[in-house]
Symmetry: C2
């Protein structure tokens, strides 16, 4: 064990780093050594960045995005289409859509998907706040950009039911062949969906 | 870019995390989100662990190991064989040997290997301190546990020359088939070395 050669402080640092997604015990050890080697250029700035993030980051009370202001930068942006709400499972998905530059609209972060097996019900997600936003008016389209998993699709159907009473168009992302993807490597469901939803060339 | 949706504080955190070995830009983003989600159980403890590590960790003035005390836990351990010094390239290698529990001896961290191409000469490594430790007496064996790379082996030869004038046995780790390894997947050099250094069964 490293605890016998390094102090408990280093061991604690390694244990915490190992809890980050993408880092295992071995890479956490490497990361800790790297941090200790780059003390002034990496370790101190990272400690400070974590402190600042902890101090300032808040969840947007409108959409659930994380930012250092509330309402968040996206909700406060007057250049965005306020009549369109893109519903995502997580902030990570929101970032992915923004990176793709796919749309300049508002978002709504659910905070997960319905998953009866994991005990996640409608009350555990930000579904009512979404209905409230739509009920408040001014929204013409809700795009369900949930992941194409079973739980994601179940959630999409549930949301559609919740929004059925409002004069709002509910859409979802297209299924199909990923750009750059090869048919031979795709699952049958994706190929069938791409075929069903084929478009004019 | 995430910077347009999240604040510069989050972007800075992601950039710093991406500089850790094992984390790329994408996994750094995931790690940042994970930290923000686990604010009290992970983000705050990690910030504190980094601060404590930065404050307390020192390099051992004898062997170059990192610890919160000087001399380090290894050098201060009376249960270890002080007559044997295991020479390693890095603290990570020292930890690896300790994890393996291969030997209860003292260490000497070189801080790298000789690498003319990268401009690393004898003066850049802790070679003179090693010679000084041997010259001070009480050392009967120096085990060169440098990596089996070209630069590592060059360094081993250089160290052997440096220690030639002292009454000390210089040894190196055995080459051979890794435990659990399959011959078919090994390079010719390893197989040849394992054959040359075969032992009685």
């Amino acid at each position: 064990m490293a605890s016998t050669v390094a102090g408990p402080e280093i061991e604690r640092l390694i244990q915490l780093l190992a809890r980050l997604p993408g880092l295992g015990p071995r890479s956490a050890r490497r990361a800790a050594l790297h941090l200790i080697r780059k003390r002034e250029t990496l370790m101190q700035p990272l400690a400070e960045a974590l402190r600042v993030a902890d101090e300032r980051i808040v969840a947007c009370s409108t959409c659930g995005n994380i930012d250092t202001r509330d309402p968040c930068t996206v909700c406060a942006d007057p250049g965005r289409d306020a009549a369109t709400i893109v519903v995502v499972e997580s902030v990570g998905d929101l970032w992915a859509l923004e990176r793709a530059g796919a749309i300049r609209a508002r978002y709504h972060v659910l905070g997960g998907v319905l998953s009866p097996l994991d005990g996640v019900g409608p009350g555990d997600l930000a579904i009512q706040p979404l209905v409230d936003r739509v009920a408040a008016g001014g929204v013409s389209e809700v795009i369900l950009a949930v992941n194409a998993t079973v739980d994601g699709q179940t959630t999409a159907h549930y949301l559609t039911d919740c929004l059925a009473d409002y004069a709002v168009k509910v859409t979802r992302l297209a299924h199909g062949v990923p750009v750059g993807g090869e048919l031979d490597y795709l699952d049958d469901g994706t190929i069938a969906a791409a075929m069903r939803q084929r478009t004019a060339f």
